[in-house]
């Protein structure tokens, strides 16, 4: 396996696109009047019901292959629901209500943030089919707000191809057993308005750019105050490909910090699958050589359950190839077989496991068929594999095991085409697992239950007229004017203090760094100590500073007094600050005393001065109860030093 930590992304032809799904703050769900409240315990329920899904026939009388695989999984879908956030709409027992205008408007506002040029002037609700049970109808209602926008990323533009508004899916609960044919969903989240923001995937060429793209999008959702906050309100799907590979969608990455490892592990996987394809071709393999001949070898096992084996010609050593850290190709195949047929990974075995490939053994899902050297020989005696052949064994009921072997062989054949287009699920260690065959655009069709909604360009203009500065514009401004880092700007955005920041710096003429300290540093420091400084206190302090009733050096004291008793009047506050009215002689005496305390000699070099000057200032200020400005003290100290020289 190539080293995931040492990859030349540009050379590998890495490309990545994002589909950011972010819930929108709104009072009601997108297509019904249920409130957007989540259950604290997602397994809590007042009632439940269950359904089976089947694909709808296409116009040519056939099924979409992706949908057929979903149907093949044969899920029984159990829904848990609660009265307060679920009505008959979420149960798919009643048609949709008129879409939530608040969410529609927010879609246009977001589009304007992303510089979109082509708006949907009439909203046409579409259905996007999903058979995994996550949506009770079997399709998601979704519509375009606008197209053709962009975000700046490290000096270039990453294009936003589409911005959609859609209903969120139900929450899957009881995820633990992916082989189970029964799946559970809580309906509370179903129908939450969601925006889907899609980036042009040729525009991103490194994981860093991908991360920055995601961050820019996240900043917009925050700065616009449109994105819902909190756990689970945002989900990213990432499309990744390298040269010679194919588009693979990885779902469910919630934490941006994991983007890097995810990209690396996927690049490694695609690279290995391409190498594997080359090796298979080199061995002269063709798809026809794989036969669906399953041999019953149950008698070799001390078990009631059936065991079937199949020969995989010329595949020796290839199942043991490490495709992702701690996962070999065999396990990669078995993941897919498991998801579709329900036969657990541990009930699959490949012959490389006994034949020098030890990766499987160290993986999270080693085989538990107990095939030791002796049993291996016995199986070989029955199957009679040729020198370069490998074989696979599956345990299960006759029907399930056959199904699993069928899926296994089909997947091996696909290896001759390299990287299969598929949707995968992100797993915690940075790897991914097969989830479904990638869905095409052929699963989207107009929703006959909702008439189109005309939103004229005039209305769109009205809605988007007053959007504030875009995050990158804010950064540009604060960075060039005050030297603020992106990190600082991010905190202003994340804590939603940008408006106050602008107010303090313009209306109150406050120093930008002081405003930042007041809005970000002080509340954050106090929060760490479990002290919540409310916005009114911050606002009041800002006014006090502006009218010079207090000075910046007194901030900490004022905060401490007000957080204990926010009802203090200005007079009481000043009284408690215990401001000393010092004459200039008195002050000079204190300054002198502190210089002597630190030692005059320590201020000789400019290097030392930098180090000790603030200490002296702090000591003086403390002695004076912060009743004088630091700047005054600094100039006093400087004059004393000059005197001394």
């Amino acid at each position: 396996m190539i080293d995931p930590n040492n990859l030349d992304f540009k050379k590998l032809g890495f490309h990545a696109g994002l589909e950011v799904h972010h819930q929108i703050i709104s009072k009601r769900k997108l297509f019904c009047n249920c409130p957007t409240i989540l259950e604290e315990d997602p397994e809590n329920m007042e009632y439940s019901f269950y359904r089976y899904f089947r694909p709808v026939l296409g116009e040519m009388g056939d099924f979409d292959p992706g949908m057929l695989v979903e149907f093949e999984k044969g899920y029984k879908v159990i829904y848990l629901a609660n009265e307060r956030n679920t009505c008959t709409y979420e149960m798919d027992e009643t048609p949709p209500f008129f879409p939530d205008m608040e969410a529609i408007e927010k879609g246009y506002i977001l589009s304007e943030y992303f510089h979109c040029t082509s708006f949907a002037e009439e909203i046409v609700v579409n259905r996007k089919q999903y058979l995994d049970g996550s949506i009770t109808t079997g399709f998601q209602r979704t519509f375009i707000s606008a197209r053709d926008g962009w975000v700046p990323v490290n000096g270039k533009k990453v294009r936003i191809t589409n911005l959609h508004i859609e209903e969120d899916a139900a929450r899957r609960v009881n995820w633990d057993d992916t082989s189970s044919r029964t799946v559970y969903f809580n309906l509370d989240r179903l129908g939450f308005p969601l925006t889907e923001i899609i980036t042009e995937y040729t525009d991103v060429e490194t994981p860093e750019e991908l991360l920055e793209t995601a961050k820019q999008i996240g900043r917009v959702l925050r700065i616009s105050k449109i994105g819902r906050r909190g756990l689970g309100s945002a989900r990213q799907d990432v499309n990744i490909s390298i040269s010679g590979g194919d588009r693979v969608e990885i779902k469910g990455v919630q934490d941006l910090d994991l983007f890097d490892v995810m990209c690396r592990n996927e690049v490694v996987r695609q690279y290995t699958l391409i190498e594997l394809k080359k090796e298979m071709l080199k061995r002269g393999l063709t798809k026809d050589e794989f036969e669906h001949t399953y041999v019953d070898i149950s008698h070799l096992f001390q078990s009631e359950t059936k065991h079937f084996a199949v020969i995989c010609p010329k595949m020796k050593g290839l199942f043991g190839l490490e495709v992702q850290p701690n996962k070999d190709f065999g396990l990669e195949i078995f993941e897919k077989s498991m998801l579709i047929t329900g036969v657990p990974r541990a009930d699959h075995y490949h012959s490389d496991e006994s034949d020098g490939g030890f990766i499987r053994e160290n993986s999270d899902y080693p085989s538990n068929l107990g095939i030791d050297k002796q049993l291996y020989e016995k199986i070989c005696a029955i199957l009679n594999p040729k020198e370069n052949d490998a074989f696979i064994v599956v345990k299960g009921s006759e029907k399930q095991a056959m199904h699993a072997l069928k899926k296994t062989i089909e997947r091996i054949k696909m290896a001759l085409d390299g990287v299969p287009q598929e949707t995968r699920r992100f797993v915690k260690n940075g790897n991914s697992e097969f989830l479904r065959v990638i869905h095409g655009k052929d699963r989207i069709y107009p929703d006959t239950d909702t008439p189109p909604v005309v939103i004229s360009l005039d209305t769109i203009e009205e809605i988007t007229r007053d959007i504030g500065r875009r995050p990158w514009e804010v950064f540009e401004e604060l960075n060039s004017e005050y030297g603020f880092s992106q990190n600082k700007v991010d905190l202003l955005i994340r804590d939603e203090q940008l408006d106050s920041f602008y107010k303090f710096t313009t209306e109150l003429n406050m120093n930008a760094h002081l405003a930042y300290k007041l809005l970000i540093d002080i509340p954050r420091e106090n929060r760490r100590k479990d002290v919540i400084i409310n916005e009114e206190i911050i606002e009041r302090i800002a006014e006090l500073l502006a009218s010079e009733i207090i000075i910046p050096e007194q901030l900490d004291q004022v905060i401490s007094l007000l957080s204990k008793n926010e009802h203090l009047t200005d007079e009481e506050l000043i009284d408690q600050l215990n401001i000393k009215d010092l004459s200039s002689e008195e002050l000079a005496a204190i300054v002198k005393q502190k210089i002597d305390f630190i030692g005059k000699d320590k201020l000789q070099t400019s290097e030392n001065e930098q180090r000790y000057l603030p200490k002296i200032v702090a000591l003086v200020l403390k002695e004076c109860n912060y009743s004088i400005k630091g700047q005054t003290v600094v100039s006093l100290i400087n004059s004393f030093i000059k005197e001394a020289i």
Partner: protein, 463 residues
């Protein structure tokens, strides 16, 4: 008519925009580009649906999504490509299996399966054997199913003549040896058709199962496919010979109930489990493990030779829903218009206000039967309890017992098809023909399976 002209017809577009599309030779289904200031769109030009704004075009863009754009003078729209669609379905060979029962599916418009045209978004009902068996492949191994189309209409457009034709078709199928009949029907008036068939098909020898889908068949969650599979099971194998409705019993895909058509009513505008048996319990239920019968008065299969069709009707029957403040001129005008009979849905035990008495007297004089049924739907019409009821009886009204409005309406049409003699009509109306009147009312009829009761499964086990 030349082909060209039809091709260039911009389907659904109206007014100025339509003229412009014709002038610029822009066809629906063609690929177009739309330019408007900074905005640029490319996509398939879709037909415009009715009752939408005149000035917008609907485009299907590369992602499969649709959106609308206003086309004004400053908008540039051009056709940049055209690809004709083709719709040939693959042939499905369905083998006739000797060991399987023969079931005919007569389609009247309710679709249990559809095809979806993703290109256009059109929903095409699946009704040919190819379509039906492709959509619900399990059907081919359940019974030998022969689908036939009678009508393709929305069920609200049904008319009494259509009931007759449906019954005639059923009779023909029975005579040709069908072991059971399925009627695909829109759910809205499924019960009404069911009642009519129950009166028309005398000594019915095989099951007649009405079925449809309550959640549209163009969705992966549709109840249609399961409904048709259960209907095939019932029609092909079960030993009963009545007109029944079999649809979902709960919001889950767990079991279907079997309702006697004459006691069945649609009780919710959209839910899967909309159908309920009122004033009684359903005949039974069917799930993946088989059929459980709850009632013991079910008519078994019988000799087809005793079967006959009696579909004489007189459709000049009206139905009035009495409400406080109703002007009696409504009933008067029905007499003036020459109606031959009236069903009145009366309050409580089946009362109407005293204002209506003169109109009732007129009906009596002109020998127009007035049959009273109850607005609460459950329970009997009983006009001997209160003075007002006795006053009504004195004016010749017929107490409709516990017939549901749809059962009484269809029955009066059928009765009047045989006689206009008031006494004979009364006799027919008061004689139970197909379970539309029960001679006693079990308390269960208002308690069990009238909603989703907690613990319903336990109750079912004890039935």
């Amino acid at each position: 008519m030349t082909d060209e002209k039809t091709i260039y017809d911009p389907e659904g577009y109206r007014g100025i925009l339509r003229d412009r599309l014709i002038k610029d030779k822009i066809r629906t289904w063609s690929k177009v580009s739309v330019k408007k200031g900074e905005a640029y769109y490319e996509g398939l030009l879709l037909p415009r649906s009715q009752h939408t704004d005149d000035d917008y075009v609907t485009l299907k863009v590369d992602t499969g999504y649709n959106l609308g754009i206003l086309v004004d003078e400053e908008t540039d729209i051009k056709e940049i490509g055209y690809q004709k669609g083709h719709y040939k379905l693959p042939h499905v060979d369905v083998e006739f299996k000797k060991e399987l029962p023969n079931v005919t599916l007569l389609g009247t418009g309710g679709t249990v399966a559809s095809r979806l045209d993703y290109r256009t978004g059109a929903v095409l009902p699946a009704f040919t054997p190819e379509e039906l068996f492709s959509a619900v492949p399990e059907l081919t191994t359940t019974v030998n199913l022969t689908p036939k189309t009678l009508y393709q209409i929305l069920s609200e457009n049904f008319r009494p003549e259509y009931w007759v034709k449906t019954a005639e078709s059923i009779a023909k199928e029975i005579e040709s040896g069908a072991n059971g009949i399925i009627i695909g029907h829109g759910t809205d008036t499924m019960c009404v058709t069911g009642c009519a068939l129950a009166y028309f098909l005398r000594n019915l020898p095989v099951p007649v199962v009405l079925v449809g889908s309550q959640r549209s068949s163009d969705r992966p969650s549709s109840d249609g496919p399961r409904n048709i599979l259960y209907a095939a099971q019932l029609a092909g194998y079960e030993n009963f010979a009545e007109v029944v409705i079999s649809m979902h019993g709960t919001p889950s895909d767990s079991y279907n109930l079997v309702h006697r058509a004459t006691r069945c009513r649609k009780m919710h505008s959209a839910r899967r489990d909309t159908f309920r048996t009122l004033s009684d319990i359903p005949l039974g239920k069917i799930d993946d493990s088989g059929t459980t019968w709850f009632k013991d008065d079910i008519r078994p299969r019988s000799n087809p030779e005793d079967f006959y069709l009696d579909a004489k009707i007189d459709s000049r029957v009206g139905m009035l829903y009495f409400y406080p403040g109703m002007n009696p001129d409504l009933l008067e005008s029905m007499v003036d218009l020459g109606y031959h009979g009236v069903i009145v849905i009366g309050t409580g035990l089946a009362h109407v206000g005293t204002d209506v008495y003169p109109a009732l007297e007129r009906c009596q004089e002109e020998e127009i039967p007035v049959v009273m049924v109850v607005e609460p739907l459950y329970g009997f019409a009983q006009l001997r309890v209160y003075e007002t009821g006795r006053d009504m009886l004195a004016r010749g009204v017929i107490e409709g017992e516990n017939m549901l409005p749809s059962a009484a309406y269809t029955k009066l049409i059928w009765a009047l098809g045989h006689t206009r003699n008031l006494d004979e009509v009364r006799d027919i109306m008061l004689t139970p023909i197909a379970g539309e009147i029960t001679n006693r009312e079990s308390p269960r009829g208002f308690m069990i399976m009238q909603g989703i009761e907690p613990g319903i499964d336990q109750i079912l086990k004890n039935l």
